[in-house]
Amino acid sequence: MTPAVEVHDLTVAYQQKPALWDVDLTVTPGSLMGIVGPNGAGKTTLLKAILGLIPVVSGDVLVHGRPYRQQRRRVAYVPQKSSVDWDFPTTVFDLVRMGTYGRLGWFRRPSRAENDMTRQALAQVGLTDFRDRQIGQLSGGQQQRAFLARSLVQEADVFVLDEPFQGVDAVTERAVIDILRKLRDEGKTILVVHHDLTTVPTYFDAVTLLNVQVIASGAVGEIFTPENLHRAYGEAAR
């Protein structure tokens, strides 16, 4: 089976200082994978490099067997909540509908099909009643769910989420993980940058331990061991 995501020999450097060192990563389709590692391990950098958002020194990324650049539309991206200006003059509905812009391409405007998709995604994350609010009037958890809804309308096969549980309430955390599991059950592949080690075994079925290099990657049961955690985090994890 062709892997959903294949990363080969990926190196990213900021000012000659490697943030990712020769990373190899294979993600099988239908897995819900957590990417964990200490601060500065390059978790967000890895996601951004996979998505072609930052220049890489070496290596390449294949999505379902073909270069990412040819497969852009098959990958949905949920950036960190803090990456956008929540005072921006737009409504929740508009925010979610932005996910459909990819299938529209240049010039074409959203029409009924896109509006229907948007409504459906809003319902899925439980934000139907908030659709006309300015996005800054949502709570942190609602903002995260709006971001997730926006990725749902991208009709992607691979979902890439950066810290979706950062600063959200318990209700949102459960709602998000439920939706991610449902996506996995539909055969989608999900990569999640995550920082809470205690929830890794319950949330994910695969895990990548990252600390500039890949320490270990594979099924949670095999990889998420004290020895590997120690290698990724150093003494602090003991």
């Binding site: 991206y77 737009t90 932005m98 391409g105 240049w106």
Partner: protein, 385 residues
């Protein structure tokens, strides 16, 4: 066309010119404000002089349209320089702007004062603009007078902006709000970014001969900021920015003509005054609306607190004492007038009623309290299976 009959045709044209400046600057200004790049706009509006001077050295003609493009090019170069410096991570954006803009600006003024003393490119005029004189420089095509050159230029710029936004609204919005997602979805945020910066440069260079860089900056920043306080949608922010900018321009110009004072200065003053009004009285985001909202929340909170207090003691031996009409303020450690005010509103809102010497919760009041503290312990036990 004469809209203000009490003024001569020349002054009428001055009013239209100012309106055109306002409209042409307010549109890219919206995106400058949303991208937090107003200071970059400030830098661009000052360094254009350098572009004009350099282009003049090449073409040796102060009326050449190439001066226009030379200036716009230097504007874009400024943005590139600022961003290049930022990328080195050695300094932040504000410092980078502070480094690039005085350098290029002083280079421009130096060159102008050294080599161009005898042309009409003098420094004072370039800094403050001269809307009053703009009607003299007219654009004629095939012998037909189309109006002051600056007005035609700015009107044209505005129309082009409106067309571009109509075509690329979705792209502009996405690239401004979330460039990361824009890139992932296959759009080109960097291209859109530089197209916007080019528009800003073009608007500035078209406008600053008439009004000078300071008023250009005021038109970039103030109308969009006002509009942002008035609406939660980008499209309305654009429309309102233009309306507010034109209103300020026309009012300010008429006022300046009436009082015989500087037009650019008066318009900037009117913009400031309008901003103060919007800032204070905007229906949703204004200071007053915010204060009213706080008072409301404060009152509601105190009423709820009162219901919780009565609810907690209802049915206990201490109830008579804790809910006494004349003793409530002591238990809550509030002043008597404050307690009376809260009680009056709670009664008016149907949360509690007087029963003899005591206050009792109504059903509504009890529900309000239970939303906070849940059902009372005994009742919870009784309702459990």
């Amino acid at each position: 066309m004469i809209l203000f009959p009490h003024l001569g045709p020349e002054l009428n044209e001055t009013v239209y010119l100012m309106a055109a400046v306002a409209a042409a600057c307010a549109v890219p200004g919206v995106f400058l404000v949303l991208r937090r790049m107003v200071l970059v706009g400030d830098a661009i509006s000052h360094v254009l002089l350098l572009g004009i001077v350099l282009a003049y050295f090449v073409v040796k003609d102060a009326a050449s349209p190439l001066l226009f493009f030379g200036a716009a090019a230097v504007g874009v170069l400024t943005v590139a320089l600022v961003e290049g410096l930022q990328r080195t991570k050695l300094l932040k954006e504000d410092a980078a702007i502070g480094l690039v803009f005085p350098f290029l600006f002083s280079l421009g003024t130096l060159l102008a004062s050294m080599y161009l003393r005898n042309t009409h490119l003098d420094v004072d005029r370039v800094l403050l603009g001269s809307a009053e004189l703009a009607f003299r420089d007219r654009l004629t095509v095939g012998g037909r007078d189309l109006g002051p050159r600056a007005f035609v230029l700015l009107g044209g710029t505005f129309v082009v902006f409106v067309l571009l936004i109509a075509l690329f609204y979705k792209e502009l919005k996405l690239c401004t709000f979330d460039p990361g997602l824009a890139a992932v979805l296959g759009f080109l945020p960097a291209v859109v970014h530089y197209a916007l910066m080019t528009s800003v440069s073009l608007a500035t260079v078209a406008a600053f001969d008439a009004v000078g860089p300071v008023l250009v900056l005021a038109f970039f920043a103030v109308p969009p900021v006002m509009a942002r306080l008035l609406t939660k949608r980008l499209v309305w922010m654009l429309v309102l920015s233009v309306i507010l900018a034109v209103t300020a321009a026309v009012t300010g110009t008429l006022l300046a003509i009436e009082l015989d004072i500087t037009i650019a200065g008066t318009v900037a003053g009117v913009l400031g005054a309008m901003f103060a009004v919007v800032y204070l009285f905007a229906p949703r985001a204004g200071v007053l609306a915010e204060m009213i909202r706080r008072v409301r929340m404060w009152r509601e909170f105190h009423e709820t607190l009162l219901t919780v207090h009565l609810h907690r003691h209802a049915g206990t031996p201490a109830e008579a004492e804790e809910s006494r009409v004349d003793g409530l303020h002591e238990h809550l450690n509030w002043t008597e007038p404050q307690t009376a005010a809260v009680v009056r509103r709670a009664v008016a809102n149907g949360l509690m009623v007087r029963a003899g010497d005591c206050w009792k919760l109504t059903d509504t009041g009890r529900k309000r309290a239970e939303e906070i503290v849940g059902p009372r312990l005994g009742e919870r036990g009784a309702s459990a299976p």
